[in-house]
């Protein structure tokens, strides 16, 4: 009898751990930047980089994790209306996390190759589609400046059509909301928090400067993976 009880308790103990492992809710943490906050100066100030990373991106992650836990809970309880209500928080905050994670990798200090134009197949594809890197930059800057309110301007590759695309998204909508086969190559944050302390209302100046620290090496790697 005692043996049976012991066995039951042990089994019950194991079972109570099991659902957590089964659901396996993965939450997120702030990725480290591969460079110091001040390393992108004078294009982007250290102040902005620190606030942008430690406050804005961290807040998206914190709120994304919270929303995911609430969603997990709602799903487990079969609470459909809460699950649906949480979708906008997931899009905002999850999108914010996805987009900013791409952004940090898109940037590099000039002494580590930031700003050096692409060669190889990406350089060729840009020349084919836009005439030159300069013309691509002009197009992205024009579209980035024209974003009303908050959002992003993207260089993307359509992995089905194997074609480069310039696109914009509003708020923290990830690029896939503009096309399921779009793979982000370069994302430039045009929310005011990305530039205001340094460039104030002059978003076009920020857009001109940021190209000095774009990590074309990383961008080429992503492109070559999609278009080998």
């Amino acid at each position: 009898m005692a043996l049976r009880t012991l066995a039951t308790r042990k089994t019950l103990g194991a079972l109570s751990r099991f659902p957590q492992q089964l659901r396996g809710l993965q939450t997120f943490t702030l990725p480290d930047l591969p460079y110091d906050y001040g390393a992108l100066e004078p294009a982007i100030s250290g102040d902005i980089m620190q606030l942008h990373h430690q406050k804005h991106h961290q807040t998206y992650i914190t709120n994304y994790n919270k929303a995911l836990e609430q969603l997990d809970d709602a799903i487990a309880k079969g609470d459909a209306s809460t699950a649906v209500k949480l979708q906008s928080a997931i899009k905002f905050n999850g999108g914010g996390h996805v987009n900013h994670s791409i952004f940090w990798k898109n940037l590099a200090p000039t002494k580590e190759g930031g700003g050096e134009p692409p060669h190889g197949s990406l350089g060729w594809a840009i020349d084919q589609s836009y005439g030159s890197v300069g013309k691509l930059i002009a197009k992205m800057n024009a579209e980035g400046a024209a974003v009303q309110g908050s959002g992003w301007v993207w260089l993307a590759v359509d992995k089905e059509l194997k074609r480069l695309v310039v696109e914009t998204t509003a708020n923290q909508d990830p690029l896939v909301t503009k096309g399921p086969s779009l793979v982000p190559l370069i994302g430039i944050d045009v929310w005011e928090h990305a530039y205001y302390l340094q460039y104030k209302n002059v978003r076009p100046d920020y857009l001109k400067s940021i190209w000095k620290v774009i990590n074309w090496k990383y961008v080429s790697e992503i492109y070559e993976k999609e278009c080998p």
Binding site: L51, K55, H56, T59, S88, F92, Q148, G149, S150, G151, A170, N171, Q172, W191, E192, H193, Y196, L197, K200, N201
Partner: protein, 240 residues
Amino acid sequence: MASVTTIVSQLTSSAFLPATEFCRLSQSLLHWSQMQGPGIDLKPPPYALDALEPHMSKDTLEYHWGKHHRGYVNNLKKQIEGTELDGMSLENIILASYNKGDVLPAFNNAAQVWNHDFFWESMKPGGGGKPSGELLELINRDFGSFESLIKEFTIAATTQFGSGWAWLVYNDKKLEVVKSPNAINPLVLGYHPLLTIDVWEHAYYLDFKNLRADYISTFLDKLVSWDAVSSRLEAAKVLE
């Protein structure tokens, strides 16, 4: 039809005008100004640019009013010149260019000109405190309490994702809190705006950085002009 220059020179050249002359000249001036249409102007806030310190800095006013708001005015003027929107009142430009949601190019600038005029006038030096009189009665009726209004307004301002505005409006004889993205304002919904807070990042970034919540509570504690809200409510009641 006398030109402005003629009218002004007549008014300034004579020390005394007989009453009839004065009446005729004033009427000409009034007629002239109505024919020109209201015109789009950068209205200054009803206080000096440093008058809201330390709650909203002079720096912020200089950029927010001097660059952003001025930019919307200048861009709107350029956009409407020579078009049918030219000469229309600002509110009519907004409604026409809203185009039932399929916005025309002038909408963004026109609405933002209006929104910012309305925003500056929603604040005053030594603002904050509590509303009184009929406004407070309606707040208690429609929100349960002043604290409840503050809570709801704060939530709207905090959760307007990205750029936008939070509003207290009068609609169907009731007070409501609404929020809107980018340049959209309650005029396009046929509501009567009573109060607004700008939650575009440029409105608070210099003073508060990422801390929008602190900006919102400072606005409500120290800046909001409940007098302005009361006057607007009175005007709105006449129209409903």
